[in-house]
Amino acid sequence: MGLFILRRLGVMFLTALCLTFIVFWLTNLAPNLEKLAKTQGNARMSDDAVVSWLANRGYAQPLPVKYAQWLGVAPGYVIEGSDGQVRGRCIDPGQPVGEAPSFCGILQGDWGFSTVAKENVSEVLPQRLANTGKLMFWVMMVMVPGALIIGVLAGMREGSRTDRSLSTVSIVSTATPEYVSGVVFIALFATNTFGMQWFKGSASSAVQDATFENFFLPVMTIALYGMGYIARMTRASMAEVMTAQYIRTARLKGVSFPKIVLKHALRNALIAPFTVIMLQIPWLLNGVVIVETLFTYQGFGWELVRAASNNDIEMLLGVSVISVFVVLLTQLISDIGYVFLNPRIRIS
């Protein structure tokens, strides 16, 4: 087991390394750097100024060198610019050149500097993650119990009318992407068009103070899309368990139906949904990006869109590192959890 986890962690780091290099390469392509210079310098800057702006800030170095600096395996650049100012990767604003450390990459715990937010990535990202964490917490609180209840109810009597209608509900919910349901929700519940202006169409105040009014629509939008899938998995798993031999034995013994469901079937039926829920988390990330953009909620997804559209290189790298670890960690947890929950499986 220990070796298994170790190997998985190894793969995780290798993946993160490859992935960040790809992101690094794509964001450091010449047209992207030009975009960066124009957004940071001046939108209507001349071509010569772009070249010297980039050179003064170390962007003109070869790609592997820059990547190594970001990793922290090569010393950060120190460049005396054409305007006479000395800039260095590791030199904080206002710090004398001599006092700066020579290495400052991710290995030294320095996540770099966000060119858009004008702050260290390590200061911005945790805030955004905390905001998204708050959103995800409520999404989970709505989605998981909802999906499990629907799935169990539908699966305990396969083919019944209850099953049919609940299954239809879950299919409809998986077929409605967030940008559709979000738009429909806002039109229905945040405008006066249909006379049901109950909630707010903007969640930016929820960053400070989340209330039912400003948080309900974003939470529901993400939860609905994910709910259908988990419910269907739960239903399938429940239906399978209900046809198992030991359930049949229990029923023949005369155990009451509610008791069979609650005492015998449920535990085994929930193994599959557990792994599905874990694997669903990376998928929710997608929904988070859409919903946070739609409802202007300053979380991780919002930061991703902002960083990507402004070519904020080090922020994007931070975002990718975090999402890789989220994806791979949830996979790992779901695998391990599966083993713990299901005594029949042993990993050699």
Partner: protein, 481 residues
């Protein structure tokens, strides 16, 4: 011209009727769903006269009532669709006029269904679909949009106005607004109102279907070709090949999809030519796939093989070159007369294929890992068949069930992805009527004018829902085998 109301004179009778029936239906549905939880399981009991007892009691009555209510609802909806076809313009309101516009689609759907149901026993898995209500509904929704796209795209029917022309004075006007005298168009009204640039919302939605119906399945097919061509050997040989390919697939899957789109579908990246190279790489897989497929089958008969492979690969090769060759990009070497078509949204197409292929790869690899231990594979190996023959002609056909189901789901997912791209304003022209872009356009004024954003949203949802239901129906029916 007077503005149109939603249902016109038809609604005076039909609206209250349908309203009451629907409410009753919903009430009984809830009652039954809740009641069903506590009721004892249905067991079959024989009556003394030999018939089987149906469910009695309150639930039984409810079930019966629901059946009739459902029939009434379907009848009511059908009335909205059918009656307007026989009454003059405008008297059936917006709903009636929209139904009239869709007349070719209705005819095509009725024909498809009557023919399919009549010959369903001879049609294999497709025929079996018509045994499942869910599958039929799903198929109906999908075919509705397929036919719409077909009639709009090929015959230029259905749409009432040019989807790009802007009519002064109709900016953000509500559904049913009359257009000024002398405006080109087939109806004197904007059936679903005007959008922010005074274009006809209805025409934009139906024109958008062409885009979605053309791109999504095609991109999915390409993704399947790539996934299958790489997944079969990975699963069959295992070992280092599998490890490498799986690592790459997982790498792509570990990317947040939207970040990938933001990195790939920007004008800067198009400038560098990366999408063109990716297209050149990804789109070569269908060539390989068909080449290997035919070669492994006919390599014992060289004459026949050549006779089949040369034309097939020739045409595919030409298509391939036409697709990847784009004037103004890095790959631009074909003379214009040789270049069949230009895909203006190549970059969108490539990215969607790129995102989908790894998942297909994983599915195919998993299925192959399972199927390669079967007896018929061992038999083929003993016969001395080549590895590719076994993969493509023994394993692949036996994996078709799950693959077809996944194919339907994946078209839906691709549609959602395309919409996501439009939603973030990536890659597509702002005037493009595709549903994602239209939703994105509409949402900006959503708090004030909901009508431009809702129709494309509902259209997209119904198509994806149809694909999901279809996949569900297919899965159910294929499991019965």
């Amino acid at each position: 011209m007077e503005p149109l109301t939603w249902t016109g004179s038809l609604g005076i009778v039909l609206n209250p009727f349908l309203g009451i029936v629907t409410v009753l239906f919903l009430v009984s549905l809830v009652a039954q769903t809740v009641g069903g939880l506590f009721a004892p399981a249905v067991t079959l009991q024989a009556n003394p006269d030999g018939t089987l007892q149906t469910r009695g009691g309150v639930l039984g009555i409810l079930e019966l009532a629901m059946k009739y209510l459902l029939v009434a609802i379907v009848g009511g909806v059908a009335a909205y669709i059918v009656i307007p076809l026989f009454i003059p313009y405008g008297s059936a309101g917006i709903v009636g006029e929209i139904s009239k516009r869709f007349l070719p689609v209705w005819i095509a759907l009725v024909l498809t269904y009557s023919l399919s149901i009549k010959y369903k026993r001879r049609l294999g898995l497709y025929g079996k679909l018509f045994d499942s209500t869910v599958g039929m509904i799903g198929f109906g929704l999908v075919m509705f949009w397929v036919f719409t796209a077909f009639f709009v795209g090929v015959f230029d029917m259905i749409a009432t106005h040019d989807y790009l022309s802007q009519v002064s004075g109709l900016k953000n006007k509500v559904p049913g607004v009359p257009v000024p005298e002398g405006t080109a168009g087939l109806t004197p009204h904007y059936l679903l109102g005007g959008d922010n640039l005074a274009r006809d919302v209805f025409s934009r939605v139906v024109s958008g279907s062409v885009f979605v119906i053309a791109i999504a399945p095609l991109a999915t097919i390409f993704a399947f070709m790539v996934g299958i061509t790489l997944g079969l050997p990975a699963g069959y040989y295992s070992g280092r090949l599998d490890t490498t390919l799986s690592f790459i697939a997982n790498l792509i899957l570990a990317f947040p999809v939207i970040l990938l789109f933001y990195l790939l579908v920007t004008p800067e990246i198009v400038l560098t030519g990366i999408p063109s190279y990716m297209a050149a790489f990804l789109f070569v897989f269908p060539l390989i796939f068909f080449g290997v497929l035919l070669n492994s089958r006919y390599y014992t008969q060289p004459a026949k093989r050549t006779a089949i492979m040369v034309p097939v690969l020739g045409i595919l090769g030409w298509l391939y070159l036409s697709i990847i060759n784009q004037p103004g990009t890095v790959i631009d070497f074909l003379p214009a007369w040789f270049d069949l078509f230009d895909i203006s949204i190549l970059v969108v197409f490539v990215s969607v294929v790129f995102v989908n292929a790894p998942t297909v790869f994983r599915i195919v690899r998993g299925l192959t890992l399972d199927l390669r231990t079967r007896d018929y594979v061992a038999a083929a190996q003993t016969r001395g068949e080549g590895a590719w023959y076994i993969m493509l002609w023994e394993i692949l056909p036996n994996a078709r069930g799950p693959l077809i189901v996944d194919f339907c789901l994946r078209i839906g997912y691709t549609t959602i992805l395309l919409g996501t791209l439009g939603f973030f304003g990536l890659g597509l022209s702002s005037e493009s009527p595709d549903w994602g872009s239209t939703i994105n356009e509409g949402r900006k004024l959503l708090l004030v004018f909901a009508h431009p954003a809702l129709p494309p949203a509902i259209a997209l949802m119904s198509l994806v829902l149809g694909l999901n239901l279809l996949a569900d129906g297919l899965r159910e029916e294929s499991l019965k085998d």
